[in-house]
Amino acid sequence: MTLALSGEEVAAKLEPQFPGSIIESKGNNLLVKSESLFDLASFLKTTPGLDFDYLTSITAVDYYDYFEVVYHLTSIKHNHSLVVKTRCYGRDNPAVPSVVSLWRGADFQEREIYDLMGISFNGHPNLKRIFLWEGFQGHPLRKDYL
């Protein structure tokens, strides 16, 4: 069975390296600040014992005050999983660092989130609309679209 790692355990491991970047950790989730997301992610990927080499999925959810980007990580080697979340505030130009250089599987998924939710990913090499055409006004999956 894939063991879903608890947020507190992983937070305890991460706290010494990245003080102040973890906002809360309850259940299987870990909520982090978006500025330190990239460093945390590369730590999670490369540390032996954690070894999260497989990015299962990236999603974004629109809670009206903020957008939440959710990363589901899995380790094929140790067969455990973790959920990492980050938030970005503001509806005009929300932005989050991109993890494409760590896990290439994020490529199309981040483009999809940009297309449908409007969240930009800093560092993505080819951030343009993927499902809708250039010239489409708005971001359909936002809660205030139609």
Binding site: P125, L132, W133, E134, G135, Y145
Partner: protein
């Protein structure tokens, strides 16, 4: 234009993308009304009280007996179309097993799947490239009116906004027998046509 290396993207032509996007937006703005179904001439049959001439008869027989469909397979109905063309519900007994990739050699477009605004210019282009006489069968609920997806932001509510449709086959997806019945209806329609109309 940069030739890419193995690695992350370095080439992607945004100029072309923007031009295509503008084409889609203009098509969307122009095609908000349904094109009327091409069967006005059916009402005029009452005025024609002579039997069809033998020329008409031969031409219509030739046209309806080997309709060649063109490839237009967006979505799920495509697999019922392929199942109709496979060996159990043989479409080859109607002379239609050649599903042509080139629209210039086809005379029937069986639209099997949901149409989105992004795909609409391409379907219109394929339809325009087919030579006269040509017919369209709208297969499935999505082709008739948008189906389950009719309220979506990117779905065209029915193919008859883009191309004129001759026969509508309902179903989601329609069974192969239903599609064969629709093809039979189209053949009956063709047999009533005369070369003096358009």
């Amino acid at each position: 234009m940069e030739v890419g290396r193995a690695g992350l993207y370095v080439y992607s032509d945004t100029e072309l993308d923007r031009a295509e996007g503008a084409a889609i937006e203009s098509l969307k703005a122009h095609c908000q009304q349904a094109i009327p179904d091409p069967d006005k001439w059916l009402e005029e049959e009452l005025r024609r009280n002579i039997l069809l001439t033998s020329v008409d008869f031969m031409l219509n027989w030739a046209r309806r007996s080997s309709l060649w469909p063109v490839i237009c397979f967006p979505a799920c109905c495509a697999f019922e179309l392929i199942a109709t063309a496979a060996s159990r519900f043989d479409i080859s007994r109607f002379g239609m097993e050649i599903i042509r990739a080139s629209p210039r050699q086809a005379d029937l477009m069986i639209t099997a799947g949901t149409l989105t605004w992004k795909m609409a210019p391409q379907v219109r282009r394929i339809y325009d490239q087919m030579a006269e006489p040509k017919w369209v069968i709208a297969m499935g609920a999505c082709a008739i009116s948008g189906g389950t997806f009719a309220q979506s932001y990117s779905v065209v509510p029915g193919y008859n906004l883009i191309v004129p449709v001759d026969v509508y086959v309902p179903g989601c997806p329609p069974r192969p027998e239903a599609l064969l019945y629709g093809i039979k209806m189209l053949r009956d329609k063709i047999s009533k046509k005369s070369i003096t109309e358009g």
